[in-house]
Every structure is written in C-alpha cells, then in structure tokens.
C-alpha cells in the first residue's frame, strides 16, 4: 500500500490555500497580481448574455420565410423596446394590417430567412465575482478570473448544502457531543456562523432559519430532516445552489455523530473571527467538499511560512483516523497496525485491513477503505 492514498478531510490550524475564482463566461478582471482583496470585494465582472426570445415573424405575418426582410422595421443588431414594432405588412386595406411587436426590451440578435424566425435578446445581466476569502491575488487569468491565496485555518466538512457566505464564528454548544437544539439559537446569532456539536434536529433547523444565521456547522443530521429542509430527496451529492436560508455543513455525516474533537477545538479557538464558508459539495468528477476558511488576521502572531495543503503520503501507524462505516461509524482512533495480508471480514470478503486503537485502549480490525485519515495534524 506504499502508493495508496487514503481519502481524508483537512482540519488544520495553519495552512496556505489558493482558491481559483473563475467567471462562468469571459469578462473583466478588476484586480491585479499582488494586490490584497477582501472576501466581499468584487474581483471580476462579466455580462451574462440576456435571455433569448425566438419569434416566428413569417408565421405571424403569413409570409414566406425568405420574404421577411421586406417587412422588417428593425434589422439584426438594432435595439428594440418592449412593444415596439418589429415588422409589419403593407396591405391595401389598412384594417388588415398586421404589426408584430417586440415582447421584450433588448436587441434583434438575428433574422433567419430559412425559418422565418427572429431572435431577440434581453440586455446582459452583470455578474460580479467576489474574492470569497481575505487574501492576495497570486495570478490573474485574463478575462476569466484570479487565484486568491490566503494564510488561514481550514476545516473541510464531509457534506454541505447552500452556497458561499461569510460571517463571525460563534460556538452554540460547549462540547462536540452536545446536540444543537432550538434553545441554543438566539437572535444575536443572525448572520453568524453557528457551530453546534453532534446533531441538529428539524426544529433546530427551523429555528436557525428563523434567526437568520449565515451557516450551521454540525456533526450530523438525519437524512429525513435534510429531505424536509430541501423539500426533496437528494439523489446525487452535487450541491451548492440550494436556497434554504443558510448554508449547512456536516463535519461527520448522517446520523447523530459527535464532531471530531480536533474540529471542534479549532473552531472554538477562532470564535469571534470572520470565516468564509462554502457548502458546495460534489462527490463526483472533481470532488469538492464544503469548507470553513478562517483567514489569518492582519497583525496576528504566528509564522505561516510557505505552508500549503499537506501532501498525502498514505497512512502510517499512529495516524489519527475516523471510522466511516458501520458498525463503528464515527469513532475516532489511531492506527495500531497495518497487516499486509488480506483478511476475511464478516461478509466473507477478503480485504486489506488495519487495526485501530481507541482512546479506551480497545482495538478493532477495520477494512482500510472504511477509514478516513484526519489530516492536517
């Protein structure tokens, strides 16, 4: 297994991350390499082409498609106002006149003499791309976006819903195994990043929405409560665009699972500081995990050097691991041994295993694929 890679989530106090901020279509970059940016500052802007409205003029005027140029008032490229006449026929009797008016304000994009169709386009919509984290610009990709680098603390979650947001970290519970209940959620948590412990119930989710929190960070949630929150059963883990009132990040998984002590301690140490959050998760091509980034504050102590996301070198004895499958799902321990030979597990499958030692000294044999390295140690 020298070359094997064990998936893991990064939870680290000190790291330097780079986030590629890309427009979804070419536009203008508003910052320069080396410049400092704030999380809520626009770094690039693009104009999203307006919606297209096809209009079959030939049909409406009752003429052949290749004749429509004779009836057009507006040509391709001309601006039009809503209800302005686009084309009209010229009958001998005035009351038989047909006028085709524009359903939108925009421009005439094209005129087709094959289909008799005119395409109208609404004015573009301006899209602003924010910096997302406080940091510096290390690269400008002309017309497309930038790379922002920041020295920070980083917590990756296992799953999230909702998009990017920012807010002050506030601890709602006192221990990682305490569940977040409605009574923990107070009005002063509005627009804040609220950290709970092991579990959030459906009534606490409703309360979080009512208070108007920016984000809830929690160990676990029941799938049925997630379904109720979303209004549908989530089929594939591709998220980030949900609008449930706040961003939700699970650090451990589904069910009631105490938040890893290290994650809870790190977030506690940064209570009161601003964090950049993304709930976007893609467990498919180009895996994306939700994240909590706490940028190093100006003047804060500590030398971050040139630290980057740690290189994953495979698992070693003594590494801290989390078990990610039943029957010991959620338990945290350290690697006690890594037997080389395949071992038969209760399903009768022969698999590679490891021995994990828990805090109470007990040990368990676990398939290697069922553990997750707690990274950034």
């Amino acid at each position: 297994m020298a070359h094997s890679y064990t998936p893991g989530l990064t939870v680290t106090e000190h790291t330097t991350i780079r986030r590629r901020r890309m427009l979804s279509l070419p536009g203008t970059v508003l910052v320069t390499t080396g410049g400092e940016v704030r999380a809520n500052q626009a770094v690039a802007r693009a104009e999203l082409p307006g919606k297209v409205y096809p209009l079959n003029l030939a049909n409406q005027l009752g003429v052949a498609p290749d004749e429509i140029h004779e009836y057009l008032i507006k040509k391709a490229g001309d601006p039009v106002q809503k209800d302005e006449i686009l084309a009209e026929n010229k009958p001998f009797i005035k009351w038989m006149k047909t006028e085709v008016r524009s359903p939108i304000t925009g421009i005439v994009e094209s005129v087709s003499t094959v289909t008799g169709q005119v395409l109208l386009r609404e004015p573009p919509r301006v899209l602003e791309l924010l910096g997302y984290v406080d940091g510096r610009i290390t690269e400008v990709i002309p017309q497309q976006g930038v790379v922002v680098e920041t020295d920070c603390s980083l917590v990756q979650g296992i799953f999230g819903i909702g998009g990017e947001t920012t807010g002050e970290i506030v601890m709602a519970v006192t221990s990682p195994d305490e569940a977040l209940t409605p009574r923990h959620l107070t009005p002063d948590m509005k627009a804040k990043v609220v950290v709970g412990g092991s579990f959030i119930s459906s009534d606490a989710l409703a309360r979080a929405k009512e208070v108007g929190v920016a984000c809830v960070v929690i160990g676990g949630i029941h799938d049925k409560d997630l379904r109720a929150l979303l209004g549908y059963d989530l089929g594939v883990a591709i998220t980030g665009t949900e609008q449930v009132g706040f961003t939700l990040i699970l650090t451990e998984g589904f069910g009631s699972i105490p938040m890893a002590g290290k994650t809870f301690a790190l977030l506690s140490a940064h209570a009161g500081q601003q964090a950049s959050i993304s709930g976007a998760t893609q467990i498919r091509a180009g895996v994306i995990r939700p994240e909590i980034i706490i940028a190093k504050q100006a003047g804060a102590s500590g030398d971050y050097g040139i630290a980057t996301v740690p290189e994953r070198e495979g698992i070693r004895i003594g590494d801290q691991v989390r078990i990610i499958r039943d029957p010991l799902f959620g338990k945290i321990g350290e690697v006690a041994s890594l037997p080389a030979d395949l071992q038969k597990i209760p399903t009768e499958s022969d698999v590679r295993v490891m021995e994990v030692r828990f805090a109470d000294g007990s040990k368990a044999v676990i398939p290697r694929t069922n553990i997750e390295l707690i990274e950034g140690a």
Binding site: H222, R284, V287, P327, T347, S349
Partner: protein
C-alpha cells in the same frame, strides 16, 4: 434500427504482445490487470486497484493508474514502472510490459446532449447513436418536446455537455426544423464542461440538405463535424458514422481536456476507449459467437450500463444516476424506500437505513463490513438493476413512427410501432459485471440479485465477470483478438448456472411444475417444484443436463400454458436454480411474512453465512 458498435481504429503494433497491462479508470476506482502469455495461451495473472485520481487534490488520472499498476508490481514481482513511466516493451522476463491499454469512465464519462426534430423518431435515433458510442445522454431536445424555444436555449446553455449530436429530418426532406434547432444552439452559445477556451465539439448528422445552413450558423461557434444522416429515410437508422465521429471527437477533444488525460493518451499503446464502449464490444462478441440473445449489465459506482443483443440487434443504455456509490442515494430516491426494504431479510428502521445510504453517498469508497450492511447493499443493487432494465427496455425498441405491413392476423393484436426489443422469454443469457456483482463474496449472491431484478422467464443462463475485467478485454480485443478471447474464456466469464422460472401465480405450496433431470452420468432426479419455493440443484460448469418440465395447468414455461418443455441446460458454479416464486415475482406485503419468505429463499440457496 440499431447497428453494431463501430469498429474502433486498430493501432499498428510492431512487436509481439506477450505481457499486457490494462487499466479501467472508473469513477471510483482504477482497476489494473496483468495479462501474460503462458505457453500458447494468454491468462490474466495479477490484479491491482487504487482510487481514481481525476479529482482534486490530484486532478491527474495517471496517478491512480500508476498506483494500481504499482500494486500489480508488488504482487507479481515484475518491474513495470520506471518512475512515472511504464516500461514498454518488455526488457526481460521480469521487466516491463509489451503494451499498456486503458478504458475510462472517470470524470463523469462522456456527457452528451442530443437533438432531433421529432422526439420519438430522430430524437431517439440520436439518443441510441450516442448511447451506443458509450455516452451518457444528459438531455434530448426536439422540436416537439413541449419546451418553449427560450426554455430550450436556456437548457442548452446551462447543461454544459462534452459534445452535442444534432439530428433531424430525412435526407431530402424539410430543413426548417433542423435549422431552427441550429439557431437555438447558436443563440445559447454552449460551453463545454472542461476547458473554458476550447470550442464545443458538435456533430451534425441530420438532413444532408441542411448541412450548408447548419455550417453557416454553427461553423464559427462550435467545432462542427458533418457526417451522414442517422435517419436517411424514416424506415432505416444509420448510426455507425455518427458513432465513429463521437469516438474520434471523444479522443481528440473531450479527453484532452479532462485532468491528466493527455498524459494517459501518451502512455497508452492504443486509443483510450470509453468503458461502456469497451464492454459493449465484449457483449456483442459473446452474442455473435454463440448466436444468443443476451442482456448484459455493468453496475458501477455512478452509472449502470445495460446492453442487449436480440436477433442480432445491439442496444446499449446508460442510467446515469443509478449506481452503488456516488449514485446510491438516487437509487433510493427513484426506487423508493419500500422497494429497497422488500429485499432486506430483517427489520431495520427507516431513519437508520436512510442515514446509512447517505453515508455511503458521501463516502463512496467504503465497503460493507457486516453481514446486514452487505444485505442492504444487495437489496439496493437489485433495485438499481431493475430500474436500469426498465430504462433500457424503453429505449431498445423498434423504430417508431413508421408504417408497418400488417397481415389480417395482426389486425387483432393492434401492436404499436416502437415495441421494445427485449423479450425475456427469448433471452438466452444474462451477463453481469461491475463491483457489486463481480465481487460478491458468494457467486450465488450475484445470481440471485440478477434473477430477482430481471425476473427471467422460462429457461435462462446467467454468468458474471469474474473480477471485473470486461472493459479491459474490450479494448484488448481491438488490438489482439486472440489474447482477449483466451482471457475471456479462461479467466473472465464465470458461468453461474441456469435459472428455470415458470410464468404464473399460485398459492404457496401448490404444485407449480414437475421436473425430471437427467444428469450426464445417467442419474435421474425427479421432483416437484411448489409455488413459493426456490431450489438449487448442483450442476458443474462443464456439465450439461437434460430437463423435462411439466408445468401445472395455469403455468407457462414458454411453450404455452400447461405445455411441457424439454431442454438441455448448462451448469455453473452455482448450478440449476428452480424458481417457483412465480412470475411476475410478488413478495408478501406483510412485513413479517416477507421477512420469513426472504429468509426461507436465502437459506434454500445458501445465500449468506448462517448467523
């Protein structure tokens, strides 16, 4: 009508191929196999696997490939890698390989959008062309699909496919609708999923008279390729030219953009094939060689591909969101909890089951560690297989919308055009592949999963890909047919046995059929199969037995109600499975009765270790 897979371009190999390393880069894991010439024949000797590394933080598919090959190195003692390079050709008996080949479905596979004029005519033809080439069809746009023009444009813009296939119109017919669709695509300015700066590949395979207009409208906005019409006349499909173009563009454009694929293409000694296309080659070869009607399935982490060959017609579909890891939660969403629970032989509360499924979704590489977890995964697999076959049946159809010649006897049947080609009574063989089927701890588990999901009728043989190597052999067959055939016959195809399933319903314990089995050694087994009974009779893979079955008077075995049949049946590692549970298969609705029935059936075939 569907046509065979296009023949992939055969590369010129100058040296003899004695040692071959092949990988399949799946969405979850990269599987490597070593094939060596032993005497006169090729054998699969070692196997390694590693997580696929298309994703961050690596974003380089070759890392996973090298990791999987490194595992083979460790197990075989053969030095294959020199740093990040594969040593080719062999330097000596223990160093290097003669060729490296690969298939890939990582990075979400090839995602295509197709367009047609009439949804169930050219729209479906385009869909079949794309599916047959190994693509996932993310949407079918048609002039009559019920969406308003601006909705179509918005859809094209937001979907970000890897490639678009345009069809529509018969040659010499009206051009208006297909030109209209070109205008919509042009207005949407579609952008590819990978690579912000390259032009989206677009294949036009519609009315040839519209080619000049399509070129004018889309020539500048997309990497446009013109090819023969997939529906030159209403009565005939011509899918091969479009499929060939899809393969070419997949390699030339799409794969060049996916993380690490440029390197992978350079490493490989033959073109990288999309995994489903490679498996399709194998399925079609089996059907042709043995003159069989078959259904093949490859159930993966993200998708389930179904292949069928009936009366020589090949069809393939992919159910993009039915799979056992990334898409497991979608199986729950589509099948519903009750349908999954009906296969679980114990009581588990809904909340626990839902949480477990979601936890597998967010940590897709985990495996069941306990027996109940394994049974839950097998229950989900049955539903994924069942749903994917329903999807396949809806697309593997005769051409729709064409006039049919009818005789007087047809008048009373009132059959519509576009009937599914899948006839379970004419089905000879089911071939299963993919992790959950290939790696089931007991082979009988794979057999019963397929029997429960597909409900074969009458007499049907079943087999499974031994350790999941059909994709590898599919691509190998394009460069060395003998090597692929040798390994396929000796190491890949595991015949499970034959399922005999009478059609009909009856009360539990009532007579379903009487049977007489004459074994090769002359021994005779006479017995009665009752309704509600599942029985396993050992018959080795290399053995054939003769069976005479006399069904009860309301029961049919394919020859008619109450009519007896005589067949030679082939054995397998599992044997003969006599399925008296009735067709359609109905499970007791009462929870306790269902658990009791499942427990009885599972014990009858020794499905799981007894607790």
């Amino acid at each position: 009508m569907s046509v065979p897979n296009p023949a992939p371009i055969k590369p010129v190999i100058s040296h003899p191929l004695n040692v071959i390393v092949a990988t399949d880069c799946g969405s979850t894991t990269t599987k490597a196999i070593l094939i060596e010439k032993v005497g006169d024949e090729y054998r699969q000797t070692y196997r390694g696997e590693a997580p696929t590394t298309v994703e961050a933080p690596f974003e380089d598919v070759t890392r996973g490939v090298l990791n999987a090959i490194a595992e083979i190195e460790e197990l075989s003692g053969r030095k294959i890698l020199d740093g990040d390079k594969i040593i080719t050709p062999c330097r000596d008996a223990k160093t290097g390989v003669d060729i490296y080949i690969s298939t890939s479905s990582a990075g979400g596979g090839l995602q295509m959008m197709v367009t047609g004029v009439v949804q169930n005519m050219t729209g479906e033809s385009a869909q079949r062309a794309a599916l047959g080439a190994g693509a996932i069809v993310i949407d079918v746009l048609a002039s009559n699909d019920g969406r308003l023009p601006h909705e179509k444009i918005e859809r094209i813009r937001t979907m970000r496919p890897d490639m678009i296939l345009m069809s529509g119109g018969t040659d010499g017919g009206a051009v208006t609708h297909v030109v209209e669709m070109a205008e919509y695509i042009s207005a949407a300015e579609p952008r590819p999923r990978f690579g912000a700066t390259y032009k989206l590949p677009l294949i036009y395979a519609g009315n040839k008279d519209a080619q000049p207009q399509v070129k004018k409208i889309l020539g500048e906005k997309a990497a446009l390729v013109l090819t023969d019409n997939i529906r030159p006349v209403l009565e005939r499909e011509n899918l091969a030219p479009a499929r060939n173009k899809i393969h070419d563009l997949f390699l030339e454009h799409v794969m060049q953009q996916a993380p690490g694929y440029k390197k992978l293409i350079e490493m490989a000694g033959a073109p990288i094939m999309p995994t489903p296309a490679a498996v399709g080659v194998i399925m079609e070869t089996i059907a042709k060689r043995e003159h069989l009607n078959l259904i093949g399935v490859d159930i993966g982490g993200a998708t389930t591909d179904v292949f069928s060959v009936f009366e020589g017609l090949f069809n393939r579909t992919v159910s993009a969101n039915l799979g056992m890891s990334y898409s497991i939660s979608n199986v729950l969403a589509e099948a519903g909890l009750a349908n999954i629970m009906r296969w679980v032989p114990f009581t588990i509360d809904e909340q626990t089951l839902r949480n477990r499924i979601k936890n597998k979704m967010v940590r897709p590489t985990t495996i069941p560690q306990t027996l109940d977890e394994l049974q839950i995964e097998h229950a989900i697999a049955r539903e994924a297989l069942r749903l994917a076959l329903i999807h396949h049946k809806s697309l593997a159809t005769a051409l729709k919308g064409i006039q049919q010649e009818r005789t007087i006897s047809d008048v009373f049947e009132q059959q519509q055009s576009g009937k599914t080609l899948i006839d379970m009574l004419k089905l000879d063989l089911i071939v299963g592949s993919g992790g959950i089927l290939s790696h089931a701890p007991r082979r009988v588990q794979s057999m019963l999963m397929m029997v429960d999901a597909y409900e074969p009728l009458g007499v049907t043989r079943l087999s499974v890909d031994s350790i999941f190597m059909m994709p590898h052999l599919g691509v190998l067959s394009t460069i060395d047919e003998k090597a692929a055939t040798d390994v396929f016959v000796r190491d890949c195809m595991v015949y499970l046995g034959t399922c005999i399933a009478p059609i009909g319903q009856g009360k539990n314990g009532e007579r379903c059929a009487d049977y007489v089995i004459t074994f090769p050694d002359g021994q005779v087994d006479k017995g009665q199969l009752a309704f509600g009974e599942l029985r396993l009779i050992p018959l080795a893979s290399d053995q054939k037995a003769s069976i005479v079955i006399q069904p009860a008077k309301q029961v049919n075995l394919g020859a008619g109600v109450g009519v007896s049949i005589t067949r030679d049946v082939q054995g397998g590692v599992v044997g003969l499975m006599l399925d008296g549970r009735g067709r359609p298969l109905q499970l007791p609705t009462d929870h306790t009765a269902r658990v009791a029935a499942l427990t009885k059936w599972y014990q009858a075939v020794d499905l799981y270790p007894r607790m």
